[in-house]
Symmetry: C2
Subunit: 114 residues, 2 copies
């Protein structure tokens, strides 16, 4: 029960250190997980999509509430999470807050998936 069968040889003691690179530090994993967690909610994905696909490149928060069918506080909460994950930027102009996507951030995340 220690080594090879027909096809291969597992045995913890034998095949340790088969990884090519240092895989992913605990810290890096924690950081990455936060971004993916921000992307792991349907409402936030739709928010991000609405923002990214806007012709003007930015969207007023007031226009993000109606299409989602969620309360204003809920949308505000989700926007905050996207913001803190660096996925969107925001700018307050007068009473309104404008959100825009951060393509660089999205690109960086995508590249981590190979």
């Amino acid at each position: 029960m220690s080594a090879k069968t027909s096809s291969a040889r597992p045995a913890s003691k034998v095949c340790c250190g088969t990884a090519r690179d240092i895989p992913l530090s605990e810290r890096d994993a924690d950081d990455l997980a936060i971004v993916f967690a921000a992307l792991s909610d349907p409402v936030r994905l739709r928010l991000l999509s609405l923002i990214s696909s806007s012709t003007e490149g930015e969207v007023c928060a007031c226009d993000l509430v109606p299409p989602l069918g969620k309360s204003q506080p809920t949308v505000s909460h989700h926007l905050k999470i996207l913001f803190e994950a660096g996925l969107v930027a925001r700018e307050k102009r007068g009473v309104w807050v404008w959100y825009r996507a951060v393509p660089k951030r999205l690109e960086a995340v995508a590249s981590r998936l190979r």
Copy 2:
């Protein structure tokens, strides 16, 4: 309080329909969210990294438990989530189960981030 200030004109009634494409259906958002949820845990990211970076292209589950510092049931649970999200494939050979990454799936997810 309905329209433009210096910089722009929000007013829900005025600027509706500024989206370029149909943004992201509720169903698509749900599906995508599941994949990102699978990627939103540090342990799973490290698992995926360990599997992806292995020289042989596949890793025995028995070799995935020690480096993570988690119990065997916990690792098994995380592997199941990765599997169900389509991010890894598995093959049972004898007593052992071998895991390999699914690059196509990773690529597909990455492309959704533009």
